[in-house]
Amino acid sequence: MRMKYQFAFFDEGSKREIRRATLKAVAIPGYQVPFASREMPIARGWGTGGLQLTLSLVGKDDRLKVIDQGSDESVNAVNIKELIGKTTGIAITEETGEATLIQSRHRIPEIPLHAGQILVLQVPLPEPLRYFEPSEYETKKLHAEQEYSGAWLMLFEQIMKYGHMSTGADHPVLVHKRYVMAPSPIPRFDNSKLNDSEALILLGAGREKKIYAVPPHTEVVSLDFEDFPFVVEPFQGVSCRLCGARGVYMDEVHDEETGETLYQCNDTSYCLQRLNEKRG
């Protein structure tokens, strides 16, 4: 049997709930607004928070881009694109600049976002204090009291153990000088793109039932110490093996035959765009 779904899958009541939470999230940057997360036709942990945000936002005139760790064509991105495409009939694009809505798992595109765009990030663990405090009520209290010693201590312990801050991704940030926020598992390389962004950034955690936001032109600072400043992944002297790009986030690829280490752009649509430009 072929079911005819409501536009954007959701019933209007669900959209209303998510929209209310989103507006409050924008009004309190970095604060995690609880919401009644819905059951989705994809498993929890596969981007249900981001998907719910996207479905509450999407309209007939939108152009949607979905990326999964920089790729437009990996399983998570393709599934989500198909679900949204089939229940809305909207145009799907791979061009970052063309998209009005971008849902992303763990990357912020290399091409700078512009005003009017909305970036939706999928979040597995929205609570930056969860590492040392398992109780939700306690972490809420810590946020209420702006008591973030634990977040600093986590970074301090990493420095004591490894000699540097070892957050591979999801390095905590301070938003609008008030809330410490998990920026979702984006690489440290992308943290600076959250600061003073032109686009609205919405973050959704379906399993954890939280929505939070970074409005445009909001101060977002990565946590660090005076003597151990925040540093991004180093890609000095490295260029993309396909398009030759430098200064972007790279994937490391090992050639098993030659034993050589090669690099290529993690953002596949950025790489493709450069290759197409080169070809003319």
Partner: protein, 198 residues
């Protein structure tokens, strides 16, 4: 009525979200508001906001000359429950409200608490006119540098809002509408200063 409750409310939401994320940005929803032909005692743009955000899970309070009739109508339209200002998730100060109602609504509205600042009320205010004239200077998240607005209302709400939003993140978020179907949002993070003349 040929309002499309799916697509028109989606368009209104996106415009409201744009205004909430960029305080000072005045969005116009005339295209959608023009499709409403109900006699509600509210601006059409306010009715759209009500349909967009209120349902049985939310409580509201109306300040208006026809408070009883409008309250009944909103309840019938959305199943939201009427309550006192202190408990309301949405406080509606309509254009027909008495002088002083806006200040009272802001003074009594729920600012949330430190554990749950999102429980701070959203206040809909029907203004006489909204424009981008240089009367008030806004700064804060969502604003590159500063933005300028002019809000003509019956009351002087700026001091009452500042007093309510004194202890960030506690506070109320304002959504203004006018008869021209303009929408302007002032989240609690926005700082307001008056333009000095001369």
């Amino acid at each position: 009525m040929n309002l499309d409750l799916v697509h028109d409310l989606q368009a209104v939401y996106r415009k409201t979200l744009a205004s909430m994320s960029c305080p000072g940005l005045i969005s116009n929803i005339r295209e959608q508001a023009g499709k409403l032909d109900w006699e509600t005692g509210c601006f059409s743009s306010t009715v759209l906001l009500i349909l967009m955000l209120l349902d049985t899970e939310k409580r509201f309070k109306v300040y208006s000359e026809q408070e009883e009739a409008t309250t009944w109508l909103i309840n019938q339209l959305t199943y939201a429950q009427a309550t006192e200002t202190e408990q309301a998730d949405f406080v509606l100060v309509l254009n027909t409200a008495r002088v002083g109602d806006l200040e009272e609504a802001l003074r009594r509205a729920n600012p949330g608490n430190l554990l749950n600042p999102h429980k701070g009320a959203t206040v809909f205010v029907e203004a006489d006119a909204l424009s981008g004239e240089n009367e008030l200077i806004l700064c804060g998240p969502g604003i590159a540098g500063a933005s300028y607005i002019s809000v003509r209302t019956k009351g002087s709400w700026i001091e009452a809002r500042a007093a309510k939003n004194f202890e960030y993140p506690l506070g109320v978020d304002l959504i203004f509408t006018d008869s021209g179907d303009n929408v302007l949002c002032l989240p609690r993070t926005t700082q307001i200063a008056r333009q000095e003349v001369g």
